[in-house]
């Protein structure tokens, strides 16, 4: 009788140090990704009266308040662009990043029960969050477009830049940045809960350094010594560029684009590596 050859389907071993992301496996679980997206979208506003309208109410009200406080009270100028539209663009784009970051940074802790019982490529979970937020972002963009048309109709001089065709690329970069940062944080949260607190108010503070409610030129003019803090923030560039695309607000730097793209790609891959290392044994430390 022949002894069976060592033709094992797979082997479960102690965690290895090398970067090992099994793309084939992720592909095999693509249906699961869609299920999670469906679950997130369908169940979020179940048993509410306004339902998906909540997707719209939140950015609208934020923009109204921002317009009141920053533009009417503090007197920030937005050039020829209506301040409300200026803020709505910033808030919509910022929201996508924020939701991606906050939701993915909780991945391991929130899904402890299911991760503790069954195996599937863990990265499916944060990926599904980014995708379902993309849907939400799409809905919020339509409301932006509606207001856009309204302002055009009442005679404001707003028009998009031709660079708008690159908007999906920008969204991709933003998604990678949010997902990458979220994966890094979620991996560290498994052991040290300190980061949860940091994320909660850190995101809030970061918003003020991300040009959501004011243009880059303003900070260069008012506090030129601290402008570098905003320059270093990739999200500031993303929002500035997106406003350039959507509203033709002509203030952006090529170096800013390159810087943001590089940072996002690096953060994304660092996040993937750390996440992959963590997923093998996080259940012991969480």
């Amino acid at each position: 009788m022949k002894t069976p050859k060592e033709d094992w389907l797979y082997e479960i071993k102690p965690k290895d140090t090398l970067f090992s992301l099994n793309f084939k496996e992720i592909w095999r679980y693509r249906d699961l990704l869609l299920m999670f997206v469906k679950r997130d979208v369908v169940t979020l506003y179940k048993q509410t009266i306004l339902g998906p309208l909540w997707y719209l109410i939140q950015p609208l009200f934020t923009s109204v308040v921002f317009t009141l406080i920053f533009n009417n009270v503090a007197g920030i100028q937005t050039g020829s662009i209506p301040p409300f539209l200026f803020n709505l663009a910033g808030v919509t784009v910022w929201n996508y990043f924020k939701e991606c970051l906050v939701a993915t940074s909780d991945t391991f802790k929130k899904n402890e029960a299911i991760f503790g019982k069954v195996y599937f490529p863990r990265v499916i979970m944060p990926m599904s969050i980014v995708v379902s937020n993309l849907l939400k972002f799409g809905i919020q963009l339509t409301i932006f477009i509606a207001f856009y048309l309204y302002f055009v109709f009442i005679g404001n001089e707003v028009r998009p830049n031709v660079a708008l065709v690159f908007f999906p690329v920008l969204v991709l970069i933003m998604g990678m940045l949010g997902l990458g940062l979220g994966m890094i944080i979620s991996s560290m949260v498994t052991k040290y809960r300190d980061l949860t607190f940091l994320v909660q108010f850190g995101v809030q503070l970061l918003m003020y350094f991300s040009l959501v409610a004011y243009p880059m030129s303003l900070i260069e003019q008012k506090i030129p010594d601290l402008a570098w803090m905003v320059e270093l923030n990739p999200m500031a560039h993303v929002i500035e560029i997106s406003r350039f695309m959507l509203l033709n607000e002509n203030n952006f730097s090529l170096s800013g684009i390159i810087y943001t793209t590089v940072i996002s790609i690096v953060v994304f891959f660092v996040g993937l590596v750390i996440f992959n290392k963590t997923e093998k044994s996080f259940i012991d430390t969480i």
């Binding site: 094992w8 082997e11 102690p14 679980y29 299920m35 679950r39 029960a113 503790g116 259940i283 012991d284």
Partner: protein, 418 residues
Amino acid sequence: MAETILKVENVSKQYRLGTIGTGTISHDLNRWWAKIRGKQDPFLKIGETNDRSSKGNSEYVWALKDINFEVKKGEVLGIIGKNGAGKSTLLKILSQVTSPTTGSIKSRGRIASLLEVGTGFHPEMTGRENIYLNGAILGMTKKEISSKIDEIIAFSGCERYVDTPVKRYSSGMKVRLAFAVAAHLEPDILVVDEVLAVGDAEFQKKAIGKMKDISKQGGRTVLFVSHDMGAIQSLCSRLVVLENGGVGFQGKVQEGINYYLSVKSTFLNLCKSKKGVQVIDFEVRNSKSNIVEVIEVFDPISFNLKLLFENNIPSDLKIEYFINDLFGQPQTTISSWLNSEIITPRENQIELKTNLINGFSLKEGEYSINLRLFTSETIDFEDIYIFNLINTNFTGYKYPLKQQHGRVYTPNNWNIVE
């Protein structure tokens, strides 16, 4: 000879005890420093065996230590062991939820584990939506699920509720649904942890039947973890007994159960001294004189008690053993006093043997023993022993007692009087 489908080689798993706090980061740094110098992990060397009740010195413990076994294709392997013996850890490693500290598991097939009650179910989604979600979590594609959905719904027996959100389901219905999905998963190796306990008798029977089908007709392998010796006996073809993180026994089912039943107690809650009396030792022996903490119904067992009188020897000693259920309610009492036995110790240390002539006829379950001594005063020792009563032989009864049948077995036979 059937092909080996799963091979577990020298698998060990170390855990750190206590809480994670500021001390963790210094250990992490230490470990990382050792790693870049190419040295062995300094904390892997220390660590003690996994014995729940003994107090250890080290912060690290081996939940599993050098586990080795093989599983053949089509086999139903039972895994039993006391609480904390390492069953769940082993299952976690098998289902890739966590990785072993050392060693490896080689597999020729996909492993899927049966989820615990409703894990992965989203309460707001309907039963049907959850079947899709749960199936996908377990590794099925949408197409596979669609082709089996009717079968799954029929097996679960929840047709009426399948378009109702799962949050309205009873826990039994959730288990039915979860098991139905997993049973139609068709993995090469199915891992079943103790999940069936929640279902009712009809469903348990159905589930065990399905597992038999999976292994017999489907040629698939099942790993079955349970404390239910009856289910183990009727389902498994081989048994692995885990003991303090190691393999205590592997082989035939009946021998394995006997081995498991004879594992020495660790529950002995010996009290230093109370009112001048000390309990030195207490043992329960079964009819084969093995020390046990799992007792068969009707097995004529004996208690062995060693007492030390520190001050004066009582002239008249009365002893009572209260057998309490999990809620502390006495179910029966074994008493020298009610039996009007007179015990007169001659020395300051005595050993007393109490024979339970017909054994216990109580319903199976966990019981604890309280000891009460009457010397010149009343002395209580609580929870000196905890044992599990099981009924694998079904002496006098073919099937175990259910909730509604009361708490005591009464052996009987039936004849037509001519």
